[in-house]
């Protein structure tokens, strides 16, 4: 640490700081070229030291496994020794002709669409309400975030006990005189996926609300004050000023929600287990992958399912980026964000 502070002369390090890519090419007096070169190497060294560990870990545990999935997906392989039984696209043919996979796709589609429809509007209204100057706002925010903070396992365990045939929900319905509504919330294939939707919405809506609240805080108050002076009502202000300005946040939330719904695994696997999920009509791509891949020892097939999942998610993500997010993230992914 000590030596790094001393070695560069103030002048050369100041140059290194201000030098853009253009400035670097500017001709230099001969005597200072050496110092410049040293600063250049120094910078390269610093970049390598600072970014090296993160890149190594990231590539080793994120990029390589994804690449391995693509490779193993072409093999029939039980996970022992190197894969030798090359089967080409057979795994993919099986996936796309498997009626169980078609069901799984429709379940994922259902969750994607209804999560947006159910959570979006409710979360926006709640965020607008909670953005007002009400008492106990801090406490309210903590409390609505509780379901998001507790783990899927806890949520799954608690809800499956509550929704059992002789569980708390049916008992409560009987107590308040709605005994006719008692159902097999988890095992009836007509109802189970709606139960899943309720649990998902319950767990993740707090995240949407917090995200929207964060977005609302970055909207300058002067705008609504000015509109109020011009005679706009509270809800007119929300509709014409706040909501459009909240647009980027809503679009990012929708993106995160869609990707999350496509990857849904934990809650289904915990509540319905690996076997019941398909008969109850709640299985997802990820539970299909685990049940038919690792749990049945077909690692090659499991990897092929992973690739299909990834391609579907990526396609949706790219389309969404291209047509919906493009104006918001045009800067964020490539250029310096405006701030």
């Amino acid at each position: 640490m000590n030596t790094t502070v001393k070695t560069p002369s103030p002048a050369s390090s100041a140059e290194a700081t201000t030098a853009g890519s253009g400035a670097r090419r500017a001709p230099l007096p001969a005597g200072r070229r050496g110092a410049r070169k040293a600063a250049d190497w120094r910078q390269r060294f610093e970049i390598a030291v600072l970014s090296g560990p993160a890149i190594v870990v990231f590539v080793a545990f994120v990029i390589v496994p994804v690449g391995m999935a693509a490779f193993y997906g072409f093999y029939k392989w039980q996970g022992y020794g190197p894969p030798t039984d090359f089967v080409g696209l057979d795994n993919y043919k099986i996936i796309f002709s498997d009626s169980a996979f078609h069901e799984v796709l429709s379940h994922n589609g259902f969750i994607v669409v209804l999560s947006l429809i159910v959570q979006g509007p409710v979360a926006i209204v709640l965020a607008l309400l909670l953005n007002q100057k009400i008492r106990g706002r801090g406490l309210i925010r903590v409390l609505i975030f509780v379901p998001y903070v507790i783990s899927e396992v806890i949520v799954g365990t608690g809800w499956s006990l509550m929704l059992q045939t002789n569980g708390a929900v049916n008992d409560l319905l009987a107590d308040i005189g709605l005994g006719a509504l008692k159902s097999d919330w988890l095992s009836d294939p007509k109802i189970a996926i709606w139960s899943l939707l309720v649990i998902i919405s319950w767990k993740y809506i707090g995240f949407a609300v917090i995200l929207f609240l964060a977005g609302l805080q970055s909207i300058p108050e002067e705008l609504s004050e000015a509109a109020a002076i011009d005679g706009a009502t509270y809800w007119q202000i929300q509709r014409s000023i706040t909501l459009p300005l909240l647009g980027p946040t809503i679009r990012i939330w929708a993106f995160l929600s869609v990707i999350g719904s496509l990857q849904l695994f934990d809650l289904v696997y915990i509540i319905w287990g690996q076997y019941i999920a398909s008969t109850a009509g709640t299985s997802t791509m990820a539970t299909y992958m685990v049940a038919n891949g690792r749990n049945s020892g077909n690692y090659g097939f499991g990897n092929a399912v992973a690739v299909v999942m990834f391609v579907i998610s990526l396609a949706i993500a790219l389309i969404y980026q291209r047509f919906v997010l493009s104006r918001d993230t045009a800067g964020a992914l490539t250029e310096r964000p405006k701030k």
């Binding site: 560069p8 390090s13 700081t17 853009g20 709640l126 107590d175 690792r294 992973a306 990526l314």
Partner: protein, 290 residues
């Protein structure tokens, strides 16, 4: 989809009452309603732990009567609960430290160095957002197995750090960019090198963003399920989520005890979140703006 959501929200809210900006009784009512819905299942778990199995069977939705602390005492005096709590804590803190240190270093490079390949490097991490752990889990398991890290917490920690890096980079880079260049110039005039500037100015100034990413990493690790499910097969190395599930299937008849175990296992994440919740909203505000 966005347009639809937006219109639905707007129609719902149109023309209810005059501008106020302050809470009316209706606001409080809706907030209260929402909070009760959010908390009811949690309370069911916590209160259920204070009941006996007989109480739960005869009246599933009732309150404890009389209150029974035996379940909680049993869980708290069992070594398995404390071991799993310890495992979760180790995994959580190691992941958090790893993510924060590696994330801050690489974000500093991305935010404040100009060099060829910087855009590609940022894109590499940003693309990581598209690789959820679910997709990579099967090969990841094989990789960890080859490294001989199954049944060890390191096999969970390293992938967790890797998968938390994209979010961290995306939150931290705007934070670090927002630090004015003048500060850096002033520091270099005073004789500080780039690295000196990093440790003396960047680290303290980016604290809000660091805390946000740290909390997200910790809670993510505390709750993570699919990765430990694949990597940890030996009950001694279980983290709490696996422990809760194992406990629930092992004692499936003893519902009250399962509820006690479950509610105890959620306390640490809740405490952690409550202490730092202001920071989370603050950090997200920065990230959303960027």
């Amino acid at each position: 989809m966005t347009a639809l959501t937006y219109r639905a929200g707007a129609q719902r809210s149109r023309g209810r009452r005059k501008a106020s900006g302050r809470g009316t009784p209706a606001t409080y009512f809706i907030a209260l309603l929402f909070i009760s819905v959010s908390l009811a299942p949690v309370l069911y778990i916590v209160l259920g732990g204070f009941r006996t199995n007989a109480q739960i069977t005869t009246n599933p939705a009732g309150l404890p009567g009389p209150w029974e602390i035996g379940n909680y005492v049993d869980v708290l005096s069992s070594s398995i609960f404390w071991r799993q709590l310890g495992n979760s804590a180790i995994a959580g803190f190691a992941t958090t430290i790893g993510v924060v240190v590696l994330g801050l270093m690489v974000s500093f490079v991305l935010a404040r160095y100009r060099f060829r390949g910087r855009g590609a490097m940022y894109a590499l991490f940003a693309a990581g957002l598209m690789f959820p752990i679910t997709v990579a889990i099967t090969p990841l398991y094989l990789l960890i197995k080859d490294l001989g890290l199954t049944n060890s917490l390191a096999g969970v920690i390293l992938p967790q750090i890797a998968f938390a890096l994209p979010t961290t980079v995306i939150i931290l880079v705007p934070f670090l960019r927002a630090i004015p260049d003048e500060l850096e110039e002033a520091a270099s005039i005073d004789g500080a090198s780039r690295l000196g500037f990093f440790f003396r100015m960047i680290v303290p100034l980016s604290l809000p963003g660091v805390v946000t990413t740290g909390i997200l990493a910790f809670i993510g690790s505390w709750n993570s399920y699919i990765l430990p499910l694949f990597i940890l097969n030996d009950e001694g190395s279980y983290t709490l989520p696996l422990g809760v599930q194992a406990f629930a299937s092992q004692y499936s008849v003893d519902t009250a005890k399962v509820l006690a175990f479950t509610s105890l296992s959620m306390i640490p994440a809740l405490i952690f979140f409550t202490i730092f919740q202001r920071r989370i909203v603050g950090g997200l505000t920065g990230a959303v703006k960027g």
